[in-house]
């Protein structure tokens, strides 16, 4: 099927199979590899993207659903994610890096819609993004830092 949609503000016109997953379109057709496939079932959050301003798992969306959509990946969020990236580096919130893009996008969304920098609220918000290297502490600290010091 022919689809038109925006990715990182660029109009894309593609001819893809209707059952192709959005994650595969973004990663393999459009070479946007910041997002990763960790589970393919919406459990790990590594494939997180913005879809019509909502944070979603791109592994659970099919081509048939994306005509007309506005999509953002980490590659297209240079401005919004700048401070957060700095905070992640400063607080060593990156280890193997496979989950990182998902956590940064989660943080972009959290900081947009939420003002609480309480640890308990940040923790709850992070659920849905898995990290196996760290104890999440470094990520929580990075978000606190981004909210308190960089905002």
């Amino acid at each position: 099927m022919k689809i038109k949609f925006y990715v990182n503000d660029k109009l894309m016109e593609l001819d893809v199979a209707e059952d192709k997953r959005l994650i595969d379109i973004l990663r393999y057709e459009l070479k946007l590899t910041s997002l990763k496939e960790g589970c393919g079932e919406g459990e790990c959050g590594a494939c997180t993207i913005f879809f019509n301003s909502k944070l979603v798992n791109s592994c659970l969306i099919l081509a048939t659903q994306i005509d007309g959509a506005k999509i953002y990946t980490l590659e297209g969020l240079a401005k919004e994610a700048e401070k957060i990236k700095k905070a992640f580096i400063k607080k060593e919130a990156i280890q193997c890096g496979f989950c990182t893009s998902g956590f940064i996008l989660k943080t972009v969304d959290y900081m947009k819609s939420n003002s609480s920098s309480k640890q308990e609220d940040i923790k709850k918000a992070l659920d849905g993004n898995l990290c196996r290297c760290g104890g999440y502490y470094n990520i929580i600290e990075a978000i606190e830092y981004a909210m308190k010091k960089l905002n």
Binding site: D19, V56, Q65, K124
Partner: protein, 267 residues
């Protein structure tokens, strides 16, 4: 796999009637996972249908079947009338999942562990279904009769959920899993107390979601709550399974414990 994307409801109803074995694609959070496990011949993507709304009417609240969990969570109307649902949404998947999953999808998936079903049952919700033969309204409590199946006629699509606006005196919702969050319910309980009665429903408690009628009957009649009697009555209401996520014994016990907790303070 054949995928259809009807633009109008009528077109969708025709397609579904013609392809009774087709799966409907709403939020996709269950279907896309299912695609890995089974072969689906026909998929009808109903996302073009205008079924995303929350409306307050005189005696009820109506919610379009394609309304996402997040939209409901952020709805002032739901926050005002049904705090029990807000508690339920908070425990529903992750933010990413809540942004995709729909109320209609959660109901239609018919999982005994479906998060929204117990509170909706306790709220005495109904659903509106449409097919080429017309529209009808049925009680949610009549929708489930066997494991993972809907008691619907050929070609019927759930289009709307209706919750009666009643005065809720108190409510209780709890979901149990091994993690602090993002669990598929090992067990859950929803409890609603109105001026004249108490309604119960439990998740992961039976082959299919249902109200705890025997328990309700006992509680609504009795003057003094007897925990042994509750245990006995409960046996007639629930029949949880031994499974990957938990044991029948555990589920029985914690559902009983949750019932006792929910009744705390009720006279």
């Amino acid at each position: 796999m054949q995928i259809y994307k009807p633009k109008k409801l009528k077109e969708a109803l025709n397609l579904y009637y013609e392809n009774p074995k087709a799966y409907l694609l709403a939020g996709g959070t269950d279907i896309v996972v299912l695609l890995k496990k089974i072969e689906i011949e026909t998929l009808i993507d109903i996302n073009s249908l205008k079924l995303n709304y929350i409306k307050e009417k005189r005696n009820s609240l109506t919610i379009g079947a394609l309304t996402t969990i997040s939209d409901m969570q952020n709805s002032k109307i739901i926050q005002k009338h049904f705090p029990i649902l807000i508690d339920t949404f908070r425990e529903f998947g992750s933010l990413q999942i809540r942004n995709m999953a729909t109320i209609g999808g959660n109901i239609a998936n018919a999982s005994p562990a479906g998060d929204l079903i117990p509170p909706l049952l306790a709220l005495n919700a109904s659903i509106k279904v449409k097919s080429i033969n017309g529209t009808r309204e049925i009680k949610l409590s009549k929708l489930y009769k066997e494991y993972k199946k809907l008691n619907l006629k050929r070609g019927e699509i759930i289009t709307e959920i209706k919750i009666p606006l009643i005065d809720i005196e108190s409510y209780y919702y709890k979901k149990i899993g091994k993690r602090e969050s993002l669990n598929i319910a090992v067990a859950s309980l929803a409890f609603i107390k109105t001026k004249d009665k108490i309604l119960f429903s439990a998740g992961s408690a039976h082959e299919y979601p249902k109200r705890l009628y025997n328990l309700e009957k006992y509680i609504n009649k009795t003057k003094k709550i007897d925990s042994n009697k509750i245990k006995k009555v409960l046996k007639e209401d629930i029949n949880p399974r031994d499974g990957l996520r938990s044991t029948a014994k555990y589920r029985n016990r914690v559902i009983f414990n949750m019932i006792m907790e929910s009744l705390n303070g009720v006279d």
